[in-house]
Subunit: 560 residues, 2 copies
Amino acid sequence: MQSVVEDKSPTDSQGQFAGNMMTTQMLVIDLLDFGRKTFPQQEIVSRRLEGDIHRYTYADCWCRTGQLAHALTELGVQAGDCVATLAWNTYRHMELYYAVSGIGAVLHTVNPRLFSEQIEYIINHAEDRYVFVDLGFVDILEAIQDQLPTVRGYVILTDSATMPKTSLANALCYEELLQQQPDTFTWPRFDENSAASLCYTSGTTGHPKGVLYSHRALVLHAQATVSRALLDLQSDTVLLPMVAMYHASAWGAPYAAPLAGSKLVLPGKGMDGASMWELIKSEQVNVGLGVPTIWLTLHNYLTEQEITVTPLERVCVGGAASPIGMVRTYAERYNVYWQPIWGMTETAPLATSLPPTSALLALPKEQRYELQTTAGRAAFGVEMDIFDADDQPVAHDGTSSGELRVRGPWICSQYYKNDDLSSFPNGWLATGDIAVIDPQGYMRVVDRKKDVIKSGGEWISSLEIENIVSLHEAVNECAVVGVKHPKWDERPLLLVVLNKGMQADQATILEYLHGKIAKWWLPDAVEFVAELPKTGTGKVRKNDLRDQYFHYLSTQGKTS
Amino acid sequence: MQSVVEDKSPTDSQGQFAGNMMTTQMLVIDLLDFGRKTFPQQEIVSRRLEGDIHRYTYADCWCRTGQLAHALTELGVQAGDCVATLAWNTYRHMELYYAVSGIGAVLHTVNPRLFSEQIEYIINHAEDRYVFVDLGFVDILEAIQDQLPTVRGYVILTDSATMPKTSLANALCYEELLQQQPDTFTWPRFDENSAASLCYTSGTTGHPKGVLYSHRALVLHAQATVSRALLDLQSDTVLLPMVAMYHASAWGAPYAAPLAGSKLVLPGKGMDGASMWELIKSEQVNVGLGVPTIWLTLHNYLTEQEITVTPLERVCVGGAASPIGMVRTYAERYNVYWQPIWGMTETAPLATSLPPTSALLALPKEQRYELQTTAGRAAFGVEMDIFDADDQPVAHDGTSSGELRVRGPWICSQYYKNDDLSSFPNGWLATGDIAVIDPQGYMRVVDRKKDVIKSGGEWISSLEIENIVSLHEAVNECAVVGVKHPKWDERPLLLVVLNKGMQADQATILEYLHGKIAKWWLPDAVEFVAELPKTGTGKVRKNDLRDQYFHYLSTQGKTS
Ligand SMILES: Nc1ncnc2c1ncn2[C@@H]1O[C@H](COP(=O)(O)OP(=O)(O)OP(=O)(O)O)[C@@H](O)[C@H]1O
Ligand SMILES: Nc1ncnc2c1ncn2[C@@H]1O[C@H](COP(=O)(O)OP(=O)(O)OP(=O)(O)O)[C@@H](O)[C@H]1O
Ligand SMILES: [Mg+2]
Ligand SMILES: [Mg+2]
């Protein structure tokens, strides 16, 4: 009898005792293939850049994705080539997600909100061959095209009728490219560890850094996303990703939706309250994805319109901490479950969440809201822990904080073409977030390493102060930043945007904080502002605020 | 700037353009680790062989699994070694599932219902080092121990108080082995393609054949199992696997339950109606897993007891075709959704199902029942197609039949230590099932290749006839087999078990079939029997029936 057991050490990948299972690879194209086979009539609805609403089915999407694959092949795009997009959330961008990765090329989603030097830098760093661009972003490329030597052509995401005049060399029309192509394509099979897509962080310090996702990572991430531990998507879900497809793949929604058979509602560039609400109402959206600011925008709009009844059941909220005021407002005013999420570009991006299990919903209201301001627990596949400055693990006691580190099959192990491994100690990704983990595994980001306020050698958590201030009825938004202080090094400054028509002064706000935080955490000053500066993804630009207000205390003579 | 792009061909696994993602491997132990971290207080309830009900939590299970890993290590079990079990569904078997695979060894679940020569054959073929055995199966091993040269010892799954007298050489007591061990274990990390467990088919022809599952296959299968496309398990689910852990891993329930956080109810050897119902009622089981015969057993018991109200919401039914009569009975009498499943030992085992989506539940009743007699559609990860005798694909028109072939990451690519690749043509597993697939992708097994009746060069589907006969009010169970006929080669013989206290004769039954199938499909005879012979997994032994009744027509003078 023939024996396959030669070397039984399973750590030895050569002579290991392997199972007798097929080596079928997990590829991104399989997700759409499953969706179009299992839910062919499910819809993808898009607000187009042309202004109208477009709707088609997964079956249609599959055919056009096949056409696009033929077009890419004709353009000479090969396996391993990078293809860039500068585009909002629409069906055409979705087609690019699947066709580019499907032929073995790499989809590079460029964030059009980066500075133009950064856009130039990352297109060159990625060595993009083609750029597919939305109508509104053509001018960005016109200005830098002479500095983009690797780019062979620009494809404008529109049809002949609406092709703009452009100075772009070799400008092509997306719909014309697809028109004559056959709608079936023989998708190649290849190693699941191959690169599928590329996304750069915004690079608040230094050059943006690229995260190169593999097919394996994206498929496993999509399966986790669909599961009850994260977004819990199903064929009844009508999903509105109010997060951009140019940033962290819209949290993977384009990959997860076909797997779940969910209806996908793509908002185009309509990120304002009115546009958002229009789609929610007309498409009966029941699950939304977005940063807290987006849900604040929606809340402000609904308040203005005196609307409290919505088809929404859940909003899934990440990218920043969940303020308890918003958690409560969404629960009590709109009957919507606010589902916190934690993740980052480097984690594909979803890693933790707090799904509305019946055990959670059975808790007393206030206890539940409190939990909803954490980031929840790690999904299957993600391991997380917190470490001190000496790389020692910190206790999971809910109060001791340390830098959050994560690892798992959809977590970045190195930045693209970058030898600096300082963010990847001992096989972990060091996230730059300061967090606590409680004995039940609930994680809470208490600050970012770079935002934490160092006052007299001790740390003050800006997030904790913001969370409390956001509960004050007059407060719409707020931010706490560390500003220069001659004696304490840094002290907290609180910036507040008031609700429309509401009044409050420094004394009221400080009084409100009194007793809720340590006395020495109390901000040295409160400044009322009309708005807070935001990144393209809707996050408060704390670095800008810090720069702007750095000498605030001395200028205002508040350094006593 | 350093370039990692040297060879862009992603099919070249050496120089491929790989993503920058962590190489974290998917291992079986991670499933239980997730369960004990995320749902530490969730319960595992077992009917023990000792007779009582045992309950503990995932947290407890984790600790004892750690102790068992230490014990196995002390026994000298090494990575790659095979460890056999002859055991029913209990928490101790669950501990073995995780500890054996967790240390890198291979769990060989032996089916105690095999003939003793087959048990001897497979233990030797697998080269098992230890056998862990339930109280009731000790005698099986006593009889063959002299023929088992690779086995170093036998561990009896009980405590000192109930240790039986045994002639087994080197007999150890499970609870004694665990007692002094520390309850934390440092689980090794290794290649996910390593073998994790081994299960032999029953070998109705020739020797049983081994299916060697990898960690990767079992983890991906568990994720698919938990998903809405298959079993849709969640933390509210109370799952009763009425399928044996010694056969196809109880359909993966021990792996899937911790991932979903479901309560797991393990029936021990209590496969009868009364024992089953006792657990369903006391533990408030809402999802059951089992072959059709099991649900017939339960139905017969409930009818006897005049019970119609149960906590069950779904029964997931595979291993044999779903008779429409049972689908209807469970819906209308018990308000339970009968969820069909298709799979086999070679597919880990789950591959297709028909989950109760709201779209399905919205269909007219009769149309839905009809769909529930199919095997549903393929889960994400499983590709399936049907082929004719010349390896050509057969149309998916719902009527043309061909041999079903499947492929995917949890599907067998070769039998263990077996060079015969005839069941694995062109990278597929040829299942031996004859099936049709309709344009929507719903698959229906119309027969097994070996059970199909060849009459005058044409095929008669035994399953289709059985499905109709099972609807007759007097019929409890039935089977159709092909028996010898001088002119037509084979003709169908129908065997019927009547409901208690009911009457029917051959003419009534044939009359009932009349007009519902082609005239030449009508069985040549109907034989009324007290019961049908079943395999250890509850399937009708058609080969035995065929042998027994092969000359029936000539003996009875019915060959005109
Ligand atoms: N639930 C959460 N609570 C608190 N902070 C969160 C949460 N989810 C995400 N974040 C913050 O968002 C970060 C990830 O954001 P993302 O990757 O989208 O870009 P960025 O880190 O804001 O920008 P860049 O890295 O490009 O400067 C996390 O590191 C964390 O600081
Ligand atoms: N939904 C279903 N409809 C019809 N038949 C089914 C269904 N599910 C499973 N089966 C049958 O069960 C078979 C798989 O069973 P399993 O692997 O448990 O052992 P077996 O094939 O009965 O025994 P062995 O291969 O050891 O002789 C399938 O090949 C198929 O014939
Ligand atoms: Mg970041
Ligand atoms: Mg079989």
